[in-house]
Structures are given as C-alpha cells and as structure tokens.
C-alpha cells in the first residue's frame, strides 16, 4: 500500500452547496456520499489524485455540540481556517475557467519568484491558493 495522508476535511456551511462548488466549479469528483439521518459523510477527490479525499463536513451533532458548531461556523465564515493549496499546470487558464463558472476570486493571478498564484474562496469562506509551480528546467 501507499503510505501517507489520505483525507483532510473542511467544514462547510452547507454540504449541498459545497458539493456543487467542488464538483461543478472546481472539477472534483464525488468519492463518498452517505447519509445517515441528518448526518452526511461526504468526500470529494481531485480527478488526478485518487489517493486523496477532501471531506466536506457540516459542523454539528453528533460530532460537535451545538455551541461548538456555531463557533466553528463563525470561524469558517470569517476566513480564519488555515489556507488550502490547489496546484495547477496553468494558473491563468484555470483562473479564467473557474471565474467563468462563478468562483469568487480574492486575488487575480500574480507571478512571484517564477510561480504564479491566485486566491479564491469556497462559498463557506475557506480560502484556497491556486499555484502554478515554478517550472524547474531540467
């Protein structure tokens, strides 16, 4: 087996909205979508990264009590969760495509030290940096 990180979860304000965002606007695929009463286990995957799942979770019971869940929702909405990085081959092309689909960019593509990056947020407030890594000449 391959060892390593298999799943990282995000808190989102609405799983249906998040699913639509990550699948339709970012091009991820659904990996697992299982409902059990009010609870929904939902993970998505980048099409080129089958060994990694991104969990899209709604803060709430039974995992979090109501007050803690409220605090988490506030933290996410303030953009205070740690940033995420999406690597792409061509940041400017991806920016145009995603912007055309209605992704909320908070920074246009900028070149720094040979790499190009742009910032966007998901509907909940999670912040992503989209990076086209510096080309390493061989």
């Amino acid at each position: 087996m391959n060892q390593g990180v298999g799943l990282v979860g995000l808190y989102v304000r609405d799983q249906e909205e998040a699913l639509q965002f990550y699948v339709e606007k970012l091009g991820f695929r659904v990996h697992t979508d299982v409902k059990n009463g009010d609870y929904r286990w939902l993970t998505v995957q980048h099409p080129e990264q089958p060994s990694f799942q991104l969990g899209l979770y709604k803060p709430g019971p039974p995992v979090l009590d109501a007050k803690t869940a409220e605090t988490v929702r506030e933290i996410v909405a303030k953009g205070a969760m740690p940033p995420l990085v999406l690597e792409v081959d061509d940041c400017r092309v991806a920016y145009e495509r995603m912007r055309g689909r209605g992704v909320e960019f908070t920074q246009e593509p900028v070149e720094r030290y040979g790499s190009v990056d742009a910032n966007f947020r998901d509907p909940s407030g999670n912040g992503w940096k989209m990076i086209e890594p510096r080309k390493v000449s061989s």
Binding site: R13, E70, A77, G79, E104, N119, G125
Partner: protein
Amino acid sequence: MAVASQDPDLLRRLLRAKDRMDAASHEEWPVERLAGVSRVSEAHFARSFKDAFGLPPHRYLLTRRIERAKAFLRDTDLSITDIAFQTGWKSLGTFGRTFRDVTGESPGDLRVREKATPHQLARVPGCYLSAAHRPDLNIAVSEKRRQEAGGIKRTSKKTEVP
C-alpha cells in the same frame, strides 16, 4: 472582552469586504462602498467589522497599505513618492508621517535597513510574507502619536519574521 456571536452569513459577507480591501488596498474604501460589498447598512458595518476582525475597517486598510509599502520599499527600486501614490496615499507628507507613526521609522530608513539585510523570502508564500510584515496596529494612529508624544513606551510593538 467576549464579543457576542455573530451570524455566519453576515460574517461571510464581512469577509468579502475584507477580501476586497486586501485585493485593492490602494483604492478608496469609504464606508458606503464596504457596506455595499457586505450588504449591510453603513451604520451597522464598522461595528460589525470590528467585532468580527478585531479592528475597525479603516485601520485594517491602513495596515494593509503600510505592509504593501514596506514590501515595495524592500523589493523594488520605486521612488518613495511612487510608492506613496501606488499604495493609496494622496500626499507624500501624509504617507511619510503615517508610516513613521506606525512602524517607528521613516520609509527611507526602512529601505536602507531592509536592503542591507539578506533575505530568503522566495521560500515563503507571498500571503504569509505579507501577513508577517503587517503592522499590529491595535490602537488608532492618533492614539499612538499621543502616547509616543507623552513618552509612554509600549512593548511588543511589532513582530518581524527572522
């Protein structure tokens, strides 16, 4: 002091105003413009923003402008006049005075000091770099001036990445 919890939908819209200031800190951001981005009343905006992010919106904007000016001083050879106008000031005098009040040194002195110090900044993502160089402006500039004129020393004025 604990701040009462805020509606996440409101917070998400306040974040949008903060993001917009981040993306274009050189632009003018009157309260009506920010309130429009957040879709709240002007009367409600400043208070809500401060509750959410810990400082009033215009002081936040000032920290971003100063941080950006510091980056230009460090990383470019733009003249200080150009930097003042590119970071949103209308007058070189106001820029110089505010910069000194916030950072404790003049733009020219900071440039000389930064240019004399070798950096390994290419390994740090730009957003972290800029956040690390953002002044911790936890009081109003006018209050800071008053305290310093009165000889009151404050500790932990700013943090710098090594």
